[in-house]
């Protein structure tokens, strides 16, 4: 395959450290590692508060990506991995994390993480990850009530967006903004399949569509696709979006417009919800383990 000269898909890797926290005083230091197909997050919680995290691109080797994410997160502090009391792995590569004490599914982790970051009023979560898209409903404790997951298909995923970014030669982080720099909202592209979308995009450009119009047509096709998924499980308030695409306003705003709801923006980063959830599960399991030990 021809290597792209410029890497339009490349998104910004994230780092965070809460300097107000002294990890030495913490009774519980837990780590959640979420290995997705596109990105990997390592999130450290101290006594149930976010202390630090790193979000990096997943490499070809899962254990290696997990180690790198943890290293990046801990590089910001003098906390060492041996100081961590409990580690939970999640995400599609979760079985390949050698240092995890336990694994939990990403569905449960996203619900838990969104509940923590967005508050107990969160009921519906749309997780738009690198290789799939899931609709989750949860209760006030962040426990899953219903979920819907799809076969592996790039349409409506971060990977699909990367393909579009490369195809249109637009940096992925600019797509959302550019997709609104248009006179009139164009109709969505007809193909949900990213492979067919390539042919369609070339056709549209030849017909005289601007780049921004094509991007808009894609974003709304992607939004429409996930809205149909969401409607199968139903959308209850409060609604939030997790995963990398949550940062793409081109898609999220169009989802909200179509659903006619508002969303809770997860802070500090919607991409770490799974990792936060995993770290919270780790805290529960640590507590349970300590109780059992007396």
């Amino acid at each position: 395959m021809v290597e792209e000269k410029k890497e339009y898909w490349r998104w910004t890797e994230g780092l965070y450290l809460n300097k107000d926290i002294d990890w030495r005083k913490a009774k519980s230091i837990t780590l959640g590692v979420d290995i997705g197909s596109v990105s990997t997050q390592a999130v450290v919680l101290t006594d149930g508060k976010i202390y630090c995290f790193a979000s990096i691109r997943t490499g070809s080797d899962s254990p290696d990506s997990a180690r790198k994410a943890v290293e990046s997160a801990l590089k910001q502090t003098d906390l060492k991995q041996e100081n961590i009391h409990y580690t939970v792995g999640t995400g599609y590569g979760r079985v390949n994390i050698p240092f995890a004490n336990k694994t939990v599914t990403e569905i449960a982790c996203h619900a838990r993480g969104a509940n923590y970051m967005g508050g107990p009023t969160i009921r519906t979560i749309l997780d738009m990850g690198g290789q799939d898209c899931k609709a989750i409903q949860c209760d006030e404790r962040g426990k899953v009530v219903q979920f819907l997951m799809n076969d592996k298909c790039a349409a409506g995923t971060g990977r699909g967006m990367e393909v579009i970014a490369n195809l249109m030669a637009v940096p992925i982080t600019d797509i959302g903004r550019l997709s609104f720099e248009i006179d009139k909202e164009p109709p969505p592209v007809s193909s949900t399949c990213v492979v067919f979308a390539k042919t369609e995009a070339i056709g549209l450009m030849r017909e005289g569509w601007t780049k921004n119009q094509v991007l808009a047509a894609y974003c709304s096709a992607m939004a429409h696709r996930v809205v149909t998924l969401l409607q199968r499980v139903g959308v209850n308030k409060d609604f939030t979006i997790t995963g990398g695409i949550a940062k793409n306003i081109g898609v999220t705003r169009r989802i909200l417009n179509e659903l006619k709801v508002d969303m809770v923006q997860l802070q500090p980063d919607p991409q770490i919800a799974g990792g936060v959830g995993a770290s919270l599960f780790a805290a529960d399991l640590l507590e349970k383990q300590r109780k059992a030990a007396g």
């Binding site: 449960a108 404790r141 426990k143 979920f147 819907l148 076969d151 298909c153």
Partner: protein, 105 residues
């Protein structure tokens, strides 16, 4: 407080799990209502594509789920059982006595 939280999870009812696909030709979802599932494993035996397994889930309940390596390929794995014209009911649904499995096609 975490101890309590954990206990509440164990007695809490289950969840509805939908695995499947949506494309131009329609939607295909296998739905497991874990609250109704008694973990008997009859679906595991009945499925010709070995899609199911019974495991302890994230909340400590024993339930049937669609296996990790199968849940991304439902369209093709379940395709042969998909009822069109005069086809019998899905083997998994027929095998599930508590009626925990349903489908959307």
């Amino acid at each position: 407080m975490f101890g309590n939280w954990w206990k509440r999870l164990i007695v809490a009812p289950g969840y509805i799990a939908n695995y499947g696909y949506a494309d131009g030709s329609g939607t295909y979802y296998i739905t497991i209502t874990t609250e109704k599932c008694n973990a008997c494993g009859e679906c595991v035996k009945a499925c010709p594509a070995q899609v199911f397994e019974v495991i302890e889930d994230d909340y400590g309940d024993n339930v049937a789920i669609v296996k990790d390596d199968k849940k991304k390929n439902i369209k093709y794995l379940c395709g042969p059982c998909k009822p069109t014209a005069n086809r019998p009911p899905l083997p998994c649904m027929a095998a599930c006595k508590p009626g925990a499995i349903s489908h959307s096609w």
